[in-house]
Symmetry: C2
């Protein structure tokens, strides 16, 4: 198959981790006889520096002409004092909105080799295998009116039926392909938008009799993600709750540096990026953990290109390298072998070559 991928390295460690992932993509292309056309674009701080726009027109054009997007990370102290429209994360918000990438999918699975690095007790974290499905283009993030004066400020949380229906469908379908359990998270005892959300989940569940669905409040969910994270299979929630809960979930297994994410829409087009940030403190030092970005390309192959075998091959290679005791310096594992970004990536490439 021939596919075009736009790579947006971004800021901080973004260029290093996307470079690692690109090597893996090239190895996959060779091994499975695909052609991946790679084109590069600017986003975030890098784009602000080059052309005073966190999401330049050329980047949008490049992405429009491609089958998927691979993003590194955006942001850094250099741009922290910028006015709002010249902030790196505006590029991220704008690209999600522009391409209608409403479904943010974040799997969190315990990796035995990494449990030692988890803040949770082994017995609490070891069976974790959940996915958070976060609505990504609605709610408080984009709705009007929004206004700030010196004396008051307003944000607006709006959801339409259609916005809720499509993300709820995504989640039901995902739950059906997994263990058949869905937790729909809202704050229906306070918010009108949550009442509509809950109503639509109730309607939709008729169409998925094989999925067991439960409504949970966002505050209790924040507790249960710590006390009993293995309780969850698929979690679906609105944009802001999803932002908070998915970050919370990302640290429970000790493997933040390993977590991939996808932001997709109905037709399968999607943006793939690591869950971790741009880590400006270690940028350019060949220290970053490229695993999350490499695993994000596996998600891309599976979700956007239907290349299940290829995706599984990448995942297997990554886990083999970890199980052999190879880690990057972000992971605090006793007696581990510490490799640089490029060394660790070479191990993965060797696995894919063998």
């Amino acid at each position: 198959m021939e596919k075009t991928i736009t790579v947006l390295p971004g800021d901080g460690i973004g260029p290093e981790v996307t470079e690692a992932a690109v090597k893996v993509l090239q190895a996959i292309a060779k091994r499975y006889n695909h052609t991946f056309n790679l084109q590069y674009g600017l986003i975030g701080g890098a784009a602000i520096d080059a052309c005073e726009n966190p999401l330049p027109e050329e980047t949008i054009n490049a992405c429009s002409q491609s089958d998927a997007i691979l993003l590194g990370a955006v942001g850094g102290p250099k741009w922290d004092q910028n006015p709002s429209h010249l902030r790196p994360e505006k590029g991220l918000l704008a690209i999600r909105k522009h391409f209608g990438l409403y479904a943010n999918i974040r799997p969190v699975k315990a990796i035995p080799a990494l449990l030692e690095a988890s803040p949770l007790k082994k017995e609490v974290a070891e069976s974790v295998d959940l996915v958070i499905v976060r609505e990504l283009t609605g709610g408080l993030y984009f709705a009007e009116p929004r206004k700030k004066t010196n004396d008051y400020a307003v944000d607006t949380l709006v959801y339409t039926r259609n916005e809720i229906e499509r993300i709820v469908d995504t989640a039901f379908q995902l739950a059906r392909s997994r263990r058949g359990k869905l937790a729909s998270v809202d704050k229906a005892n306070v918010l009108d938008s949550s009442k509509l959300w809950r109503q639509i989940v109730e309607e939709k569940k008729q169409g998925y009799p094989d999925v067991e669905v439960e409504h949970m409040l966002v505050d209790s969910t924040a507790m249960k993600l710590i006390t009993k994270p293995d309780y969850f299979d698929v979690i679906v929630t609105e944009n802001m709750f999803g932002d908070i809960l998915s970050d919370e979930a990302s640290v429970i297994t000790g493997s933040l540096g390993m977590l991939p994410s996808a932001s997709t829409r109905e037709d399968g087009f999607g943006l793939y990026e690591p869950v971790h940030g741009s880590a400006p403190d270690i940028a350019g030092q060949n220290k970053a953990n490229p695993a999350a970005t490499i695993l994000s390309t596996a998600m891309m192959l599976r979700e956007s290109f239907q290349m299940e075998t290829e995706a599984a091959a990448i995942e297997e290679a990554v886990f083999n390298v970890l199980n052999d005791g190879n880690f990057t310096s972000d992971l605090e594992i006793k007696g581990k072998r510490v490799l640089s970004t490029t060394e660790w990536t070479s191990k993965v490439l060797e696995e894919l070559d063998s």
Copy 2:
């Protein structure tokens, strides 16, 4: 001193835990020569059953004529299908709003005897000693417009300067009386209300040069509360973020059944309640852990009545009973002695008597 306290037992285990706390208040009155006039009122499901109103007029009147309120807990499956205005939690929201109780204070401190019950590793949780200051009468909880049709729904997040200033002042003052560190939590990279929040914190910090203040994003805070909870001293945040983060924080030390809370305003009037819920599954079985409610009365004595010695005596009694190996059945501690609610309370009373 003579003080009038309105006790609102509420639902589920509420009556049992408030009864325990009342016994402790009576012991304190005797030992320190105070008069506590106790009057009782209905709230939540109990009030809905009695007069179809989760916060009856008589309850408001009783509270108005008192110096502080002690609340058990509200809610339960019996009222879960009720229309919105006949839900137990409406009583809670209404009492907060009616009395302008804008400052919700929730201390979370590791208790060595209970660390075993924590989902976190001992070394992560053992030094935790933080307080969450949550704004309680603004934001998404109360602002208009709020509307739900079959096709869309809207909630509104509004904050005025005055609402932000007073809660930020509360938090700075608290930080000053503790370790002098304040984390102000917002989502200023997305929300206009957070931008105003951040601006006001920046203005206010001039008045508290002895407090070190840091702005943190709500998503990173949700992570850090798990990976490094002992990083925090005082956390201040808006209503909805506070709801989520304070519940998250409440489980990190394994002592949810131990956590008290205060909801207060400038003049010191306040409502005191345990952080845990009404636990309908164990209601009426003399099994509930009364510690959180007993410790809430200690907060009442300290915050509303300036009775520091008395408050400290209650806290010492509770910790002595725990350190002697006495627990209620909610706490999973190996080799523990399991007591009923009344037995455990008697131990606390013995301590206060001795």
